[in-house]
Symmetry: C2
């Protein structure tokens, strides 16, 4: 299951390292907001609940970022990790499916905080198309291909009902959008686009598992 | 970061195995719906994109579930995994924070599909309290402790603004709710309750990283 990817050097970076980077980014955003200038790997380690050597090892995959014994400059570390994660690339996103979850995402700071600009919402429902939500006019799916050809968004956020997921995902892929943030609970693998499959329910089940374990064996 | 937990035998089961179980559950739910009776570990492996030996190893942590050479009975496997994950425990949940995300979760099938019953919504906004959403009357937070003492829900879904997260989380913990499904983007560790921290933005960043890698080095 471990995918590998090339870093800026020629080293191969494991997906485990990549998956930890957004967490570093979150903590560094907080330090930036608090105006902290320097942080040591042991301070970071204490905040994140991992070892300092794990942190140094992760950062070394991208060539370091710090001088031995001086800790890290918070603004520089933040800048470096932002750049690795593409926060400064100006990626643009559209939401496909403007139901409750699509609207919740559209109104949340999740895009802006990661440097992604949300630029359009799509739906098929005549009750929604043409309405305005959070400053976006909701567009009909019959305009989708024309819009994508003209505006070239980078990311489609997929929040459509399960029954139409595969069909809509293939339309997105054929239209040439390069990334799909998929909330549909169907695991997608597309010919061209990169996909991040989100399974909210999986984490609810993991929580239920820990409740069950806490309450002792064979409660039910 | 690997936590360990006791299985039904006396073996210790790694969090990596636990975290894979909800995914098995999803695929088995689909097989159940399709009326499939038997499945081999290699068929499951092909569906999930992992090795058959990984699957057998995972299932062996819980004592097996199958006979060598006969594959697995889908209904029995589904039943066993449901039971491990606490799907049949009748857990009950409340949502604390009835903003866009809280409402999106309240109107989604995510609880029902995992055997969890949603039973109340809470908020502080006078504009929301007393209103009805998805069949639930939205309760004010001043009623929270009384409600919890009387109804003893198992899970609190935390979808409040960042600024009040820690305060509300501690109220939930003190009130005696045993599990918190935390969508607030602040990593919580509570004195008593188990917590699943959800960071939607992390997966958006991982997607951005893969777009950046795909487009070649140093695009921006």
């Amino acid at each position: 299951m471990e995918k590998e990817s090339k870093g800026r050097g020629e080293k191969t970076i494991s997906s485990a390292v990549i998956n930890r980077m957004p967490r570093y980014y979150r903590y560094l955003s907080d330090l930036m907001e608090a105006g902290v200038e320097r942080v040591s790997s042991s301070e970071l380690a204490a905040m994140l609940g991992i070892t300092a050597s794990q942190i140094r090892q992760d950062f070394n995959c991208f060539g370091g970022f710090g001088q031995q014994g001086y800790g890290y400059s918070v603004p520089r570390l933040y800048e470096n990790i932002s750049s690795i994660l593409g926060v400064n690339e100006g990626y643009r996103a559209v939401i496909v499916g403007t139901g409750n979850l699509g609207r919740a995402l559209a109104s949340s700071p999740v895009f802006r905080k990661r440097g992604v600009t949300l630029e359009a919402l799509f739906d098929v429902s005549p009750a929604l198309v043409g309405q305005t939500f959070c400053g976006f006019s909701i567009l009909g799916m019959e305009e989708f291909e024309t819009y994508v050809a003209k505006s070239r968004p980078d990311i489609a956020v997929l929040t459509v009902p399960r029954a139409v997921t595969r069909e809509v995902a293939e339309r997105i892929d054929r239209a040439g959008i390069r990334g799909v943030w998929n909330f549909t609970n169907i695991e997608l693998h597309l010919a061209h686009a990169a996909v991040q499959n989100i399974h909210l329910g999986d984490t609810l089940m993991t929580l239920c598992y820990s409740l069950r374990e806490k309450s002792g064996p064979e409660k039910g």
